[in-house]
């Protein structure tokens, strides 16, 4: 049931992508998104696709996992495709029925949008597939650290994020247990009318809330016992160090981005 839900979907591994500095990975992902959205032709998307496939292969994550990442967005993709197909009216009319018509321009744009979104999802999931949530928040903290000068609570934010991520599996397990306990007292959760089910939901939510508060309290005490007093002067167990491979990865990404921009401006191809 609940325990089958995966959040953060990190797949441990030792590929070159796994070993990249997470700070670089975040920057590269941002550049990648820019690359996909600057490109306005099929050629630009082709370049993006080559880049994505290359990264996917290097990450050594199974193709199945990437397909899985697209699956929940299928309805959204379909709606986008259908809307574009019927609403865009440039190019030759290929088929029409009453007020509906399909044009070559419409087909082009639907295909373009679908490919772009699929690339976007697959490409960005490489980041979460190959970086553990904790390293990710670490990297975010480091990347945002210039904001500290503006009194922005970067460390606190990162700590909150790591704690939240850390407790997702715990809370799922807890919810599972509470559901079983209330079912044992005859609570109807997957049968019965809508109102009884809604009422029974209270029997799950109240214990879940009280235990979350209790946990938060205990965690705060435990942290204080270990002399935690915020980010000031705090050192870390795992230092983030950039290696040559990080700069190479960044350079390759910039090269692809440059190619897309050049093609966009000069338009050397007819389509």
């Amino acid at each position: 049931m609940l325990r089958d839900i995966t959040i953060g979907q990190y797949f441990p591994g030792n590929s070159i992508i796994h070993r990249l500095d997470p700070r670089f990975k975040i920057v590269i992902t941002v550049l990648y998104i820019i690359m996909l959205f600057t490109g306005d032709s099929m050629v630009c998307l082709g370049i993006g696709a080559v880049y994505t496939i290359m990264a996917m292969l290097l990450s050594q994550v199974k193709l199945k996992m990437f397909l899985k990442s697209v699956k929940p967005l299928m309805p959204f993709l379909l709606i986008t495709a259908v809307l574009n197909l019927f609403l865009v009216s440039t190019g030759d009319v290929l088929w029409h029925w009453k007020f509906l018509k399909v044009t070559s321009g419409g087909i082009n744009i639907s295909v373009f949008m679908i490919v772009r979104i699929v690339l976007l999802i697959m490409g960005t999931s490489i980041l979460t597939y190959t970086t553990s949530p904790i390293t990710l928040t670490d990297a975010i903290e480091r990347l945002l650290s210039p904001l500290k000068k503006l009194k922005f609570p970067v460390h606190e934010l990162a700590m909150m994020m790591s704690i939240a991520l850390r407790f997702i599996p715990t809370l799922i397990e807890e919810t599972d247990k509470i559901i079983s306990a209330q079912k044992a007292r005859g609570a109807e959760l997957d049968t019965g009318s809508f109102t009884t089910r809604a009422k029974n939901l209270i029997s799950i939510l109240v214990p879940l809330f009280t235990s979350s508060f209790r946990r938060a309290d205990e965690l705060a005490t435990a942290m204080e016992c270990r002399c935690y007093h915020g980010g000031e002067g705090r050192t870390r167990l795992r230092q983030l160090r950039s290696a040559p491979r990080d700069y190479i990865a960044l350079a390759v990404t910039l090269l692809f981005l440059a190619a897309v921009i050049v093609i966009k401006i000069t338009k050397p191809f007819a389509f």
């Binding site: 247990k177 509470i178 079983s180 306990a181 209330q182 079912k183 044992a184 007292r185 005859g186 609570a187 109807e188 049968t191 209270i202 029997s203 939510l205 109240v206 214990p207 009280t210 235990s211």
Partner: protein, 287 residues
């Protein structure tokens, strides 16, 4: 006829994935009506998974569970009735309390059974009395009570359904010795008064020895043994090999036997040990 019976019960978690794990492996056992049973087993031995089958919270991967001789999964829609007949109290049950008053929380189960107001009231007050909660606590918020009291409220919540079989998963975990004795003695008294069938999961051999007619031992997903208390503790060697323990007093008497003082009986409670020793001393004095 056995009140609860399992036939080749097997349960596999996450079947068909790399995380596949068999938690209960071909377990067949029979529990007679009115018995008081202690359930022992190492963490991860499958005892918690096993007891969640008894009231239909988990559905076996293969095998059957019979309640009063009837397969509980014969009619999927009737599974809720099974939960009223086999009451299950989870570990740390106080974390499932949610109502505004103690009375309402205990009444949650009986209400779900669809009983009328008068019957609910009777049951709530009767169980509260059985478990040692005074009547003036009934209108208090359960969140204001002490840990031990909360625990008793949660146990009462299941008892109030008046199940034929009552299963408690480590009802004394995390309590101080006084709270532990209190809860156990209330459960024993309730068992005596109603004559129900009770299963208690416990890590304390002393506790189990003090109440159990029979002991069910799980080891590595399999039924290790299910026998009378005396017989189980006489297999001390094997029991300690699977990472469990026998009561301290049993160890003392085994050591005595090794040194040549044989009482010819398995000793597993302090009271019985005292009687035996006194008898022996009197004999000596008479010689």
């Amino acid at each position: 006829m056995a009140i609860l019976e399992t036939q080749e019960l097997t349960y596999t978690y996450s079947q068909g994935t790399p995380f596949e794990k068999t938690a209960v492996d071909h377990v067949s056992l029979k529990i007679e009506a009115g018995e008081m049973i202690g359930v022992m087993g190492h963490t991860g031995s499958g005892k918690s998974t096993l007891i969640q089958h008894f009231n239909g919270l988990l559905r076996p991967t293969s095998g059957k569970i019979l309640l009063d001789g009837k397969d509980i999964w014969a009619d999927k829609k009737k599974i809720r009735d099974v939960r009223f007949q086999v009451g299950l109290v989870f570990q740390y049950p106080e974390y499932q309390i949610f109502e505004e008053t103690v009375f309402k929380d205990i009444a949650f189960g009986p209400k779900n059974m669809g009983l009328d107001e008068a019957e609910i009231k009777r049951r709530v007050l009767a169980t509260a009395n059985d478990i040692g909660l005074s009547e003036e606590l009934m209108e208090r918020s359960p969140f204001e009570l002490s840990g031990g009291q909360k625990r008793r409220v949660a146990i009462a919540g299941v008892m109030a359904m008046e199940p034929k079989v009552l299963i408690l998963d480590e009802p004394t975990a995390g309590l101080d010795p006084a709270g532990r004795d209190k809860i156990l003695s209330h459960i024993k008294a309730y068992h005596k008064r109603t004559g129900n069938t009770t299963l208690i999961v416990s890590h304390s051999m002393e506790d189990i020895a003090s109440f159990a007619d029979r002991i069910l031992v799980m080891n590595k997903a399999k039924l290790f043994c299910f026998d009378e208390t005396e017989k189980v503790f006489s297999r001390a060697e094997e029991i300690s090999q699977i990472g469990l323990d026998v009561p301290q007093i049993t160890k003392v008497f085994m050591e005595l036997k090794r040194r040549g003082v044989d009482f010819g009986k398995e000793v597993y409670t302090v009271g019985y040990a005292r009687d035996l020793l006194l008898k022996k001393l009197k004999e000596r004095a008479g010689e």
